[in-house]
Assembly symmetry: C2
Homo-oligomer: 436 residues x 2
Amino acid sequence: MTEPITRTACVARDAADPLAPLRAQFTLPEGVNYLDGNSLGVLPAATAARVQQVVTEEWGSGLIRSWNSAGWITLPQRVGDKIGRLVGAKPGELLVSDSTSVNLFKVLSAAAQIARADDPARRVIVSERSNFPTDLYIAESVAAQHGLTLELLDIDAIPERLGPEAGRDVALLMLTQVNYRSGRMADMAAVTALAHAAGALMLWDLAHSAGAVPVDLNAANADFAVGCGYKYLNGGPGAPAFVWAHPRHAERFRQPLSGWMGHAAPFVFEPGYRPAPGIGRYLCGTPSVIGLSALECGVDSLLAAEPLGGMAALRAKSVELSELFIALVRERLDDSGLTIFSPLDTAQRGSQVSLAVPAEGCLDGYAVMQALIERGVVGDYRAGDGSAVEPHLLRFGFTPLYTRFVDVFDAADTLATVLASGEWREARFMQKGAVT
Amino acid sequence: MTEPITRTACVARDAADPLAPLRAQFTLPEGVNYLDGNSLGVLPAATAARVQQVVTEEWGSGLIRSWNSAGWITLPQRVGDKIGRLVGAKPGELLVSDSTSVNLFKVLSAAAQIARADDPARRVIVSERSNFPTDLYIAESVAAQHGLTLELLDIDAIPERLGPEAGRDVALLMLTQVNYRSGRMADMAAVTALAHAAGALMLWDLAHSAGAVPVDLNAANADFAVGCGYKYLNGGPGAPAFVWAHPRHAERFRQPLSGWMGHAAPFVFEPGYRPAPGIGRYLCGTPSVIGLSALECGVDSLLAAEPLGGMAALRAKSVELSELFIALVRERLDDSGLTIFSPLDTAQRGSQVSLAVPAEGCLDGYAVMQALIERGVVGDYRAGDGSAVEPHLLRFGFTPLYTRFVDVFDAADTLATVLASGEWREARFMQKGAVT
């Protein structure tokens, strides 16, 4: 039998952690153990001053002149290039623009055109049933528009669907690399190769990957990607998102959101649309300057890890944090009824661990999470259908930039206390509100 | 012969102006006479503190909880309702979301579906040749997608095109109420009635109207509208835009950008899309919280005029400012070659005055504007094709919330100086950069 894990041991791991100094980059509220960076990242200390500078100096004093003098006009490319360093996109290949949903519409529309041009018999977009809903909603719309079918499968059924015979009608495989519920992570290179072998295009949503795990879009030979600015990239609530198209596709077709910022010469004010070269045509309207500036600070907080080993080092720590949490859950919550829903194989798990609430019994996962939050441990709750396949979940995101080993210990410890005390049964924890 | 207009007289008009105190709401840079609020509005004094609060308190401390506790989730509706008060939309009818270009895509797509359903023989979208390019680019895309034709006409040719016979194939008339180049303003009620008489739908872009002139979408019985947050609404660079659909249309069709925030129950995470009731389905991705919060301050700066007569009072002052400028140009710049390109009829002019640079002669409008800017008078320059129909323009926007009569005097005076001295001929004023 192994010795119980102690808080002291966790404190010692933090003291020995070469990445520990990165935490000082953030303004973290007192008394909050924040394990929800997979939903909304924390505030980098640099952001408030930078946003203030944009507002008071660049906007307030520079006014219209700042489009040039403060470099506003190149922000989508500049911040895009920085994100590119985190996800294996070369400079000039990736842009920050709009929201993830809007960017999905752009790349799905382009993919639908490419599929039609290359092999009109391919009429199916395949995705995962438990993909994040906005991906499915946008795919539903694009599919309807282009006469395609959206087919939703369990993730384990996808390889068969892309088999030599079965895959012949598949135009596109669209997956979020790390599932928002389970934290299950796909092998990007292997799945992309599977899609390509079937003759299909591969679109990745990196919402829970960018800044969380190492990603190399070019090495994986992916076709399209989108991602979110406000989760692991710490860009702030509703931060602009990003979009990438492999250079072999970027200029093949227009994407339909042909706003003036994606025009080859936006300031010539021509009446007819001429798409900008490369990924430039994936811009649409005037970029959100304040949002982009805040996002840049968030991305910089990740790039600060480059001298310490970058995403590979962050990933190694993320795995250690997650493994510690799993060990603590097993040690202390074995009789709680909660089970580990995320894959146990670290190679198949992103930077979160989800615990499943049993379908049988009286445990109310929502109330448990509310009671945890009241004690300062902020994870989140995701309702399922109550089945074993899609159970109700408690999600805990481990963001190695700022999560400490001691935070993981305290979270598991607090969860054990909340369950042992039964305090989650108090009526005030049952009142539901919208959570994102 | 009338007496020359004096600076002293303008100072006196400011002293007697009941709207003058509204200027104190803004943080205006020293030494800048800003007449470009039609391109990027100025910074309200309240914005910096509000943005700081959103960043440090709501995001930094509140983190994910602020979606509920700080009301982030209802920001698109809350700010939308405030803008609604400026443009004649009822509470719940108008939303802040995305960019003007993206919102145009939504409403144009809905309009195309409605036209097809109601009268498939209507295959033409009519717009103005010199409409703002992003409107034309997006319309070009939507038209191609729906098998429609985009027909661009001179504004004066539009009534004939919508005549009893000629108008039978027109699905939609899309106009920007105040033309970005000329400042020419359409009579919203009359033009909407013209479109409806022809059996066409009417879509208004209010980019240069909202916060500049009184607008009443419901009274005009318009069908769709979009507008910009960063011009007269003072929302900051790249502020989110707004979208309105008449309630008779809002639920008739889905718009294709079916992101999760437009779902009937976004936090139930269903795999299938069910559009939210009413205008709610025109939301798409996660809203830009910082941008929306800054925009709210800008909109509040206009609502502060309500006790002083609101948009009607602001409009009256805007007309006075513009008339003063025109009088000064006539008095002092009669021999400069510059001519007044904006309509002289105040009922047909928005809140800007554009001066045309003669096609003949050596006057370089770009250099003149650069020389003006160096002297602290910030208008902007819009190149044309050099013809009398689309000349090169010097644009001056008069935003009655903060522009004073003395500012108008000084602008005309400085322009006269720049021209009389010939200083605009210096090589450094000729170097071109991107301007928005």
